[in-house]
Amino acid sequence: MDDASTPLLRGKASAGRSGVGAAIKAKFFAPATRQKLLAFGSLLALLVFFSVASPNFMQTDNLVSILQATAVNGVLAIACTFVIITAGIDLSVGTLMTFCAVMAGVFLTFWGLPIYAGVLAAIFFGMLCGFTSGVLIAKLKIPPFIATLGMMMLLKGLSLVISGTKPIYFNDTPEFSMISQDSLIGYIFPSLPIPNAVLILFLVAILAAIVLNKTIIGRYTFALGSNEEAVRLSGVNADFWKIVVYSVSGGICGIAGLLIASRLNSAQPALGQGYELDAIAAVVIGGTSLSGGTGTILGTIIGAFIMSVLTNGLRILSVAQEWQTVVTGVIIILAVYTDILRRRKR
């Protein structure tokens, strides 16, 4: 996901010994890397702590359920990562996810179209809504917080209106639930019944990392977050690329919508609000700065896992639900505070 090795090799070929040393040093002690290491270390520490604290934690079933629980939040967090790297914010990812699930329901259950049409519809409407947010922000200059707050409520309302405030079940298309719940890996390795949702999470993560690090979209995502005015003065159509970023993010929310609808075998129109905060928390814990310009998909995935391991582990230790929430809150504040400390030192 992170191309740590390639430039180093290239450096060896061209820059000679000392250059390599410096390059390794720069790469290894770069603040982003350190934050990622910190997040990864915290995740490992949590895993060790919970396995020691409870024999039930390190069971295959439990680990699979942690993976399963991370899928939706993880995909949403990936969507948020793009936007947050541009120094924006997207509060609408949760209700957008629901809206996309409802649209899949409309295509499949209401109109009786084939599965692929429902899948495409969810992703298409996700991109369309992301595009709309992008236009509001880039062209109408509405601050991202407000624009996406508006979109959040608008989409929540639309989901309820379109569905008639009732869940849309996918009973006519039983294959739909297989998208999330079936296990391809389980067919190959029967002892590892990892649901497809997790597979999809990792696929999305890999694709997102490639887009972010290897393509023109990724380059402008970072550039916009680093110095939007400089991008503009360089003759780049900054508004266009910002809209692209929000559209990509919206499309990823569409995938999250498919995952949750398939998992619940229904589109639940009242669901969704609150998911955006979990997603943003995962991004922040993963070391992506809210002030833009830095961030990684790997960090976000680690952040999402930290959150679900925490929830799962505390539940296994029979910690009350309300205290789990308190702990999550503390973790978020700690994560951001370490980020601030790190930056102050520079």
Binding site: R10, T215, G218, R219, A223, N227, S234
Partner: protein, 508 residues
């Protein structure tokens, strides 16, 4: 000039530009040949940067003509300027700190592979490396720009300009943040570009630099073209003379003798990074001390440091002879020091609140009854008193501050500090953005404050203002105090010489 081409690359004729009715450029002329370094000089606000921003497509011109290679052109956007081969290195660097040097240079023109979607980092870095080689610059194109020194960042900006095969390179005060070694490296690169036929516009205040690097100098003043002269044969004081204009400030104001009053504020050995270097000064009761210098000379930094708004590395501050420790603006205010920011809207006023709220903001604690209830009638009466005393033109003390004019807003800031019993007042560009009528009222107010025994430090970039108001003038340049001038011996030339560190000129 090395072999001037037959036609200049750029000719600007009769260019005018105004911002919301206020003319910034009035009938400007300029021309630039290939292989020429053409310096553009003038005081702050003379219009140099505006003129170059028009040429580089940042601003649109109102009227006038720009010829490129002899053909009239319209430069509607930075992109259009780039397409012509005009590139500007802005004073405030425009880089993306989180991206690498190579990524910055080729932003918007990334080499791609595989259906134009994927980036080709290898080619990108190679292309950047080639440009660095052309500049004889040793820099790894993969270095993250935020980790480079300012000088190196400047080099990246120049490399970016060169990557466009620029024919015209505009540099806006490129050495403002460079030390002498770095400046030497920059000059080496400029000379190289010159040989390669690039036309360079060089905006700077530093006279010795111009003598070193430029072929011709064009002087601007108050948005107008004054003259273009060859650098080599023109004495520096002639150029300074053209910059400041020979008309003397009308000194109708009588300067009181305050040289024997008590010293109320004394600053010794003030140090803060490279912004403030060993600054020493004192202010007396009833004195107006002018702090002159060019933009970025460190005047605001000194005021902010004394006010406790920025941390200092070293230095001693004495108020009425007693050494005090000022770690925050609250400490400063407790010692009777007030600071009126050059940017009223950002730092000085809550423009969405009423006149009275703003006036009592720092002193609201003295308007509490029972320690918690706000005594509205008392606030009202006090605000009213200051409105009348300072002649603030507002329909009522409940008027929102943002609906008032700049001059009246400034008076509200003054009222605020007076109410807080501040008797050492730092005024940072007190008349910026204020119309002429309101200016003279602010001057009157400053004089009467001084008569009442307040000690005033006035920072101003407008020389006539400094000359008219100050009892004593300190001049700063690059973080240091480069000289002190008594009011009756001061002249614009003398101040400019100190501000540009041309002390040898005093004899010339």
């Amino acid at each position: 000039m090395t072999e001037p081409a037959a036609t200049p690359i750029v000719v600007i004729r009769n260019l005018c530009k105004s911002f919301s009715g206020v003319p910034a450029l009035d009938n400007c002329q300029f021309e630039l040949f290939a292989g020429e370094v053409h310096a553009l000089m003038g005081e702050n606000g003379a219009g140099k940067s505006t003129l170059m921003k028009v040429l580089s497509g940042v601003y649109a011109k109102d009227s006038g003509e720009i010829l490129f290679d002899g053909r009239p052109v319209t430069i509607a956007s930075p992109r259009a300027a780039q397409d012509l081969g005009i590139h500007i290195v802005h004073q405030e660097l425009n880089l993306m700190n989180h991206l690498s040097a190579a990524q910055n240079i080729f932003i918007g023109r990334e080499p791609r592979q595989a259906f134009g979607l994927f980036l080709d980092e290898e080619t990108l870095n190679q292309n950047a490396r080639r440009i660095f080689e052309r500049m004889h610059l040793h820099l790894d194109p993969r270095t993250i720009v935020g980790e480079l020194t300012v000088a190196r960042q400047q080099m990246v900006e120049i490399a970016k300009a060169l990557s466009f095969d620029s024919r015209v390179l505009i540099m806006d005060e490129p050495t403002a943040a460079l030390n002498s070694t770095e400046t030497a490296e920059l000059f080496r690169i400029i000379r190289q570009l010159k040989v390669q036929g690039v036309g360079i516009v060089y905006i700077s205040h530093k006279m010795d630099e111009l003598k070193q690097i430029s072929d011709r100098v064009t002087v601007m003043r108050d948005g107008q073209y004054i003259a273009t002269v060859p650098t080599a044969t023109t004495p520096v004081d002639t150029i300074i003379g053209m910059m400041v204009g020979r008309q003397l400030a009308n000194t109708e104001h009588e300067i009181p003798d305050t040289s024997h009053n008590d010293i109320v504020l004394e600053v010794k050995g003030l140090q803060r990074g490279s912004a403030i270097r060993d600054v020493n000064f004192h202010v007396r009761r009833g004195e107006i001390l002018g702090l002159a210098g060019l933009m970025g000379a460190g005047r605001t930094e000194v005021a902010r440091a004394v006010f406790g708004a920025d941390p200092i590395d070293a230095g001693e501050i004495r108020v009425r002879g007693v050494r005090v420790s000022i770690r925050s603006p609250a400490d400063a205010v407790a010692n009777g020091i007030g600071y009126l920011s050059e940017d009223r809207k950002q730092f000085g006023l809550a423009t969405g609140l009423s006149v009275e709220s703003n006036i009592v903001l720092p002193s609201v604690r003295s308007f509490l009854s029972l320690g918690i209830l706000v005594n509205e009638p008392a606030i009202h009466a006090t605000a009213d008193r200051y409105v009348r005393q300072l002649n603030i033109k507002t329909p009522s003390v409940l008027q929102l501050v943002r609906l008032l004019s700049g001059g009246n807003q400034q008076k509200i800031v003054i009222a605020k500090w007076l109410l807080r019993d501040c008797d050492i007042l730092f005024f940072d560009e007190p008349t910026r953005g204020i119309d002429v009528g309101a200016k003279s009222e602010i001057y009157k107010l400053l004089n009467s404050l001084a008569d009442q025994g307040k000690a005033i430090v006035m920072i101003s970039s407008e020389l006539p203002e400094i000359l008219r108001m100050s009892h004593r003038i300190l001049v700063m340049c690059e973080g240091r105090i480069t000289g002190e001038v008594a009011a009756r011996e001061a002249s614009q030339e003398k101040i400019m010489q100190l501000a540009t560190q041309r002390e040898s000129l005093l004899e010339a």
